[in-house]
């Protein structure tokens, strides 16, 4: 069984991370009734004997759970969010050594996050990462959670990403990035995002982009559903993907609903690595199957179902509906419509009581509606995990490597260009030690060439590509 370490950077990263740990505990306590520290738990948690002195932990598998510590490193350049975590019900999960904070924040400035704090805290960060890695028997993956629009998550987060590549080149790096919406209130978010994009393209193995606007839409959809008062539309308790109920934390805070969605995304991606199933899908298989070319590693996530209706008399046509929904525009976590763009590859991770025949039937059914690139007509990667998430009997996570991300990137580029043309706010960046004009030009050109790669693939979309000529064998 492998372990993963979560690195949460910046305000958004830590808030999402917090929801993740809460929901992870909820999921494991649901499954693990006997309180035994099993392999599944060990993928994200250490079992520590708190009687021993600090630094002397004993990770005994198979023993009873004593004190769980999250395999995490929390980084933030202002203390507000991390302090809240430390005062909240999850405080026991974190050792003070796992936290790296400063006081004044990055001022929404990527350069400050990346260069100033990046160099100042480099040693400390590497230390903590190494420590976390040493506690792992077999470290498979780093999950980095951050936002793109701010200063810390975006700047320092991508600096951490570079460090991860340098120090642990063999460990997979899966980055969950929250992209700003067009109506974002941070004026410099386009700069921050584009500067961060370059790092993601160069140093991440996979990126799961998430847009705030999509999360808002999903939250509204669910709230609308639950308040509509239609008969048969009562949502089963705890089952909504935005619900944190049943977790450790108490009342829900404003962004909690949206962050729960991302937390659920992470739980579902790792489900097959943690629990058993008839067709296991490990984390390293995700990058292997979904990334045909090294730079095109942006995977659009979609989660279904969003909630389970409390009425158990709903027939199991629901199962097929779940597959259809995964490809609908409303369920994607970025504002894009994959059905009308080109699929390079698609992964379906199913949890719960679903058999291979259901999976096959749905793939057959949906295939004709989804355009796949000519050399990957059957580009489906499937995984079946038998343990369903809390509150559902089955669920589906679809990860699509689809050219529809191009539109998100193009919008980003447009917003960047609007500011860059006027050189607006640039002095804040150029004042920072280590930052130069060249960083901007490199970043935008990296983004442009990425968009170009996606466009070239898109161009093949409706053309009938001939099969490559086969080798001729002398007989």
């Amino acid at each position: 069984m492998t372990q993963s370490v979560v690195v949460q950077v910046g305000q958004c990263g830590n808030q999402v991370g917090c929801r993740f740990w809460d929901l992870a505990l909820r999921e494991h306590s649901h499954v693990n009734k006997k309180g035994i520290y099993d392999e599944a738990l060990s993928s994200f948690f250490r079992n520590v004997d708190s009687r021993r002195s600090v630094g002397g932990s004993c990770d005994i598998t198979g023993g009873r759970i004593q004190s769980l510590k999250a395999r995490a490193v929390l980084v933030d350049m202002e203390e507000g969010v991390v302090n809240e975590i430390l005062q909240g019900p999850l405080r026991e999960l974190f050792d003070t050594t796992q936290l790296i904070t400063d006081v004044s924040g990055s001022g929404n400035n990527w350069a400050v996050g990346h260069w100033t704090y990046g160099s100042a805290y480099r040693e400390q960060i590497v230390d903590q990462l190494r420590r976390a890695a040493e506690h792992c028997d077999c470290l498979q993956c780093f999950f980095l959670i951050h936002s793109m629009g701010g200063g810390t998550g975006s700047g320092l987060g991508t600096c951490v990403l570079k460090l991860l590549e340098e120090e642990f080149p063999e460990v997979c790096r899966i980055v969950t990035s929250v992209y700003p919406s067009a109506e974002d209130d941070v004026v410099t978010s386009p700069y921050n995002s584009v500067l961060a994009m370059r790092e993601l393209t160069e140093h991440a193995d996979c990126v799961l982009p998430v847009e705030n606007q999509s999360l808002v839409d999903i939250v509204n959809k669910i709230k609308h559903m639950s308040h509509s008062g239609k008969p048969g539309s009562v949502i089963k308790k705890d089952s909504a993907i935005i619900s944190g109920q049943g977790g450790v934390s108490g009342a829900e805070k404003p962004f909690d609903a949206m962050n729960n969605i991302i937390a659920n995304l992470l739980l579902n991606i790792t489900s097959s690595a943690r629990f058993e199933g008839s067709l296991n899908m490990d984390l390293n298989e995700i990058a292997m199957n979904l990334v045909p070319f090294p730079r095109l590693h942006y995977l659009v996530p979609s989660l279904t179902p969003l909630y389970t209706l409390a009425d158990v008399n709903i027939p199991t046509r629901r199962l097929d509906q779940m597959f259809t929904d995964a490809f609908s525009k409303d369920h994607q976590l970025i504002r894009a419509d994959p059905k009308h763009s080109l699929y390079l590859a698609c992964a379906l991770m199913v949890r719960g009581n679903v058999q291979v025949s259901d999976l096959r039937r749905n793939i057959e059914r949906l295939k004709p509606m989804l355009p796949f690139v000519s050399w990957n007509q059957e580009g489906w990667k499937t995984g079946l995990c038998s343990v369903p998430p809390v509150g559902h009997s089955h669920s589906l996570l679809a990860l699509a490597n689809n050219t529809c991300v191009k539109s998100t990137f193009m919008e980003l580029r447009d917003r960047f260009t609007k500011l860059y043309r006027k050189k607006a706010h640039m002095h804040h960046y150029l004042h920072v030690d280590g930052m130069e004009q060249g960083c901007f030009t490199e970043a935008i050109s990296s983004l442009s060439s990425l968009i170009e790669e996606y466009s070239q693939l898109d161009a093949t979309k409706d053309r009938l590509m001939p099969d490559a000529a086969r080798l001729n064998i002398a007989t």
Partner: protein, 446 residues
Amino acid sequence: MSIVTVQLGQCGNQVGQELFEVISNDANDTQRKVYSECSSERFFNETANRELVARSVLIDMEPKVISQSIAKTGKSGKWRYGDRSHFSQKQGSGNNWANGYCVHGPRHEEVVMDIVRREVEHCDCLAGIVAMMSVAGGTGSGVGTYVTQCLRDTYPNSFILNHLTWPYGTGEVIVQNYNSVLTLSHLYQLSDAILVHENDTVHKICAQLMNIKHISFRDVNKVIAHQLGSVLQPALTGDSHGIYNRNPIGELMSSLVCHPEYKLLSVCNIPQVSSSSMAYSMFTWPGLLKHLRQMLIANSKMEEGIDWQVRAPSFQPEGTERTGSHRRPGFNTSLANLLILRGKDVNDAEISGFQHPSLYTPWLPADEAFSMWKTPVPFNKYEKSAILVSNSQTLLRPLDNMVGKAWNMFASRAYIHQYTKFGISEEDFLDSFTSLEQVISSYSQL
């Protein structure tokens, strides 16, 4: 003589476990003591406390599947796996053939071969090694190929039969065609024979013949195990002189694999019905054999949907040159066939339909091309079963499709960076493609 199985990767281990279940049930079921003992000796080692321990080595790069298998069989009480006959690691091969073959294989070679050696030493006399794996993933395919190479090096005089499970055509793993091409091209040099089951075919059998509504991998694996078991269980052969054959794998090879260019074998087993219909079904040998023969020449894998229009060309008189006239569209030409009959009144079965020269390629005399084994002991609750193991053009189309898709993907160099980073270069890919095109060409010209 005993057979040692090596179960590799998730598929190999899941199918292997079902195989031992089938064999153990079949052997326990029967009233015939000699058959039972022969079967037990072949597949199990009896310990001092009268326990049956499977002669099997379980290998996987991640622990979940093996621990489940061992737990499950431990509970059944009928048989179990050896305590030290398994090897697993923490992190899988990531569906990457190169990772399995270049990294995991060599890294764990010593430990794995140690376990195999121990298992082989428990055998009084080794009949052969059956390696079970899938071709789509990373461990079964990559590590499996490496282990087969080690087996070949360590036991140069033993028979090695590779049992492969080919994935569903519409993807289970996106890079499955690459992994399959790399596996097959290497195994062709290392293995004595390659027995193939395709998930698509078995799935259809489950759906149409056995009427299973929600087909799970367990159902698929049970059918594969049933078919494989029916080939490997004891039988009386031409050479065995009235007792159960002592050299099943060797005889399988000599009957079917007469030329190193032709190693692909497929299995048909009829009848296959759901357990609920079994009580109401009556089968006769003429009926079964007629269907089986047509299934062979029309390339159908099931008793339903057989194309009866496909016919063997009419017999040509002695002395005339047999040309490619038998290469009619839709007609499946065989290189060699092995017919195994198990059950009641087996001596009454009329098998001349399978000996007709028109079924076979012209450059092999028909009487060399056909062999038969039989036993009056029924297999796995079926009063009569007829099994055909054939070396024919059956797998030509699926193989061609697989190579075609892999080649298309290779033309755009998609995913290649995932392989080169572990040591498999574009050259290696080209070599593999070339070998398989050669195999396709050979089979096309049968």
